[in-house]
Symmetry: C2
Subunit: 377 residues, 2 copies
């Protein structure tokens, strides 16, 4: 009976990518179904669960029990929580641990954690034995609505965020919404920035709905699952149109060019800035910059800022604790970001709420003077 | 005039892989054409040349001159020669150097060296910015006939050879046969083992031709280019049939399961054993083991051994200098090699010269007792 109820509550979002298509399952209590869902799709596999110490402490036992109840042998690979784990050193450790567990090509690496774990474990799964089975079990809001979907994996280097990685699609995404209850309010808010992003890209009605219903999302009401499903559907649509980001997929980078520069500037120090916070500030900046370029009304920029501030997100560079390098240095980080082609900057700008577009040939000088204004030294 | 002669001498072998198809150009003096051939295919790109110190000392200037004559800006990334460079540490260094050179996604990483450079640079090109442009310029015989074709890239770990990597096809392969003149006789012989492999897999006439014409190949006669072209065609055929090694491509591993175990056992120490030497010993063992299993005539095993010994290659485990771990340990390495599924071993065995086949379910006990016989302690 309990099982049936749980099954009933599951929302399925398909990601259509030809022979790399897969489903995203979203619902309360999904961890307890994980063993069965995996066994249904893959016969007699072994599993390596990559997770971080925080998530492991809270939820790993339940996952391992669920797997073992389905007759699946599993081993856990733990890394330290936080963005610093997304680097070459941990990649090597995790990849070697997968090999040490003697997993074979058809066996499965499960990423069980936030976006850091998803990106890191996905990359390791993509290169161990030149590609193993891979399943995403996102546990942060950000990972459930964004990073677990679409197949981008990777690590950071001193040259910038996510500059090294592979496109590697999971064969299944299992998002248990219950685990969000243990997420810190700050991390929940950070994930919410990516939810709002989908509204700002091309779903103005969703943004309006968020302005009204955000409290239900934060309180774990039915709005939460609904917002996650809409977000996954938005992302799946874009990814299906443009898996390898040769066009439209770049829209998902709304707020990210500024955001990544701020993350690099704070040396990926989660105490100062986490990814979603960078995105929040970045989206506000993108709207303000669009207004400054006379592309959008300043009212829209103010509306975005008001909503994100309202949920408790930082909305300005000044909101980042500690010293930051000057605007010129931030500009350097932007130029090194991967959304750059031949000197001219490619930016996601907007004509208003839900009307984002890819702007090529943005003059770097305009960005720099805007940054100098927003971050005077 | 000189140019025309050089162009005339170029043999083109197509690799047919749908939208990942590319050409292999083989010929004398191709380095001097490299700039032009690249410029023809890719507009206004920048190039990072990954190479090793030995190859750089001998041939890098010419390559850079050729590029710059075609208006292509290039930067060189040097690593130490030898198998030890195929590891995580150098991968990180090379990938970071590509990023530090500020190459963009459409820019090109050129692998200029032997198979170590090809595997390492190809992997780095496949993961830097989640995939950059990539061209192979193989400079060892082994790389010209084998590793530069087919898109397997990767590094070694303590768990075994090539256990970490990606499938990443080059967009062009340029094999200048002139550079083989500076290759040491030992390395040339090692590459020859892979040439002979194509005969042993499924071209018995080619093997017979090699038995007659190997001196011409070693002396740099017209037979050399012919043998390279036949080898590339053989490999391209197999790869076109089965890019990701879900079937037939495994035939290319003839001799490699034993060979890799021996390479692991000698800790990738090039002074003791290089890859092609391991393959030579491995192919002899594969033929002997096939004979022992009553699959092939012992005469064929003797013929293979005689030819490979004749060109100066090692043909037995005893031919490896220094101490080796016991047969049981070699067996462990074999089990960890990636051509293993669920306990039963997959081996490339043979019914005779040019009649190799994929044998699944080879009993590990039979392999172990064969190894104990060949490597008593
Ligand atoms: N691949 C993509 O397409 C993509 C998209 C967006 C973001 N990202 C990446 O995702 C990363 C950010 O993801 P994130 O915000 O999830 O970071 P994260 O993985 O660091 O998780 C944030 C924190 O929450 C903790 N946590 C996670 N789930 C928890 C739970 N259920 N209960 C309690 N604590 C929990 C983690 O231990 C961590 O401390 C960044 O590296 C970013 O670049 C990738
Ligand atoms: N990717 C594949 O499909 C594939 C296939 C076969 C082998 N491999 C890999 O290839 C590697 C072996 O390749 P390799 O034998 O070319 O090794 P290598 O790259 O180490 O080259 C052998 C030696 O020859 C030197 N050298 C290369 N070209 C030279 C030249 N023109 N003149 C003078 N010296 C030169 C190098 O500096 C090196 O010392 C192994 O790591 C093996 O695993 C890969
Ligand atoms: Zn993001
Ligand atoms: Zn080989």
């Amino acid at each position: 009976m309990t099982d049936l109820t749980a099954l009933n509550a599951i929302t399925t979002v398909p990601v259509k990518l030809g022979d790399r298509s897969y489903d995203i399952l979203i619902g309360a209590g999904l961890i307890d179904q994980a063993g069965r869902e995996i066994a249904k799709r893959a016969k007699s596999v072994r599993v390596a669960i990559v997770t971080d110490e925080t998530v492991a402490g809270l939820h790993l036992d339940r996952l391992m029990r669920s797997l073992s109840a389905a007759g699946i042998d599993s081993t856990a690979i733990l890394v330290a929580p936080g963005e610093k784990s997304k680097g070459f050193a941990t990649l090597e450790t995790v990849t070697n641990a997968i090999l040490a567990a003697r997993l074979e090509r058809g066996d499965i690496v499960v990423a069980f954690g936030g976006g850091v774990i998803g990106d890191l474990a996905g990359f390791a799964a993509g290169i161990a034995r030149r590609g193993m089975g891979f399943i995403q079990m996102p546990t942060s809001l950000l990972a459930q609505v964004d990073s677990s979907v679409g197949g981008k994996t990777g690590i950071n280097t001193a040259h910038g965020k996510n500059l090294v990685g592979v496109f590697y699609q999971p064969q299944l995404v299992l998002a248990d919404t219950d685990v969000l209850d243990t997420l810190s309010p700050r991390e929940f808010r950070a994930g919410y920035a990516e939810v709002a992003k989908y509204g700002l890209i091309d779903r103005p009605d969703f943004f309006t709905w968020l302005e009204k219903n955000w409290r239900g999302i934060f309180d774990g009401g039915p709005e939460r699952t609904e917002a996650i499903a809409i977000s996954c559907r938005s992302k799946a649509d874009v990814v299906a149109r443009d898996e390898r980001e040769t066009g439209d997929r770049a829209l998902l980078n709304l707020g990210h060019t500024f955001g990544h520069a701020l993350e690099t500037a704070t040396n990926y120090d989660s105490a100062r800035l986490v990814h979603g916070e960078g995105v929040s500030i970045g989206m506000v900046l993108a709207h303000q910059f669009s207004a400054k370029m006379n592309l959008a009304s300043p009212d829209d920029a103010r509306r975005v800022e008001a909503h994100l501030r309202g949920v408790g997100l930082p909305v300005s560079i000044a909101g980042i604790p500690g010293d930051l390098p000057p605007a010129e240095k931030l500009m350097d980080y932007i130029a090194q970001d991967k959304k750059v082609a031949r000197g001219a900057l490619t930016f996601i700008l907007t004509r208003g709420i839900g009307q984002s577009f890819i702007a090529k040939d943005v003059p770097p000088s305009a960005v720099l003077s805007f940054l100098q204004e927003k971050h005077p030294k």
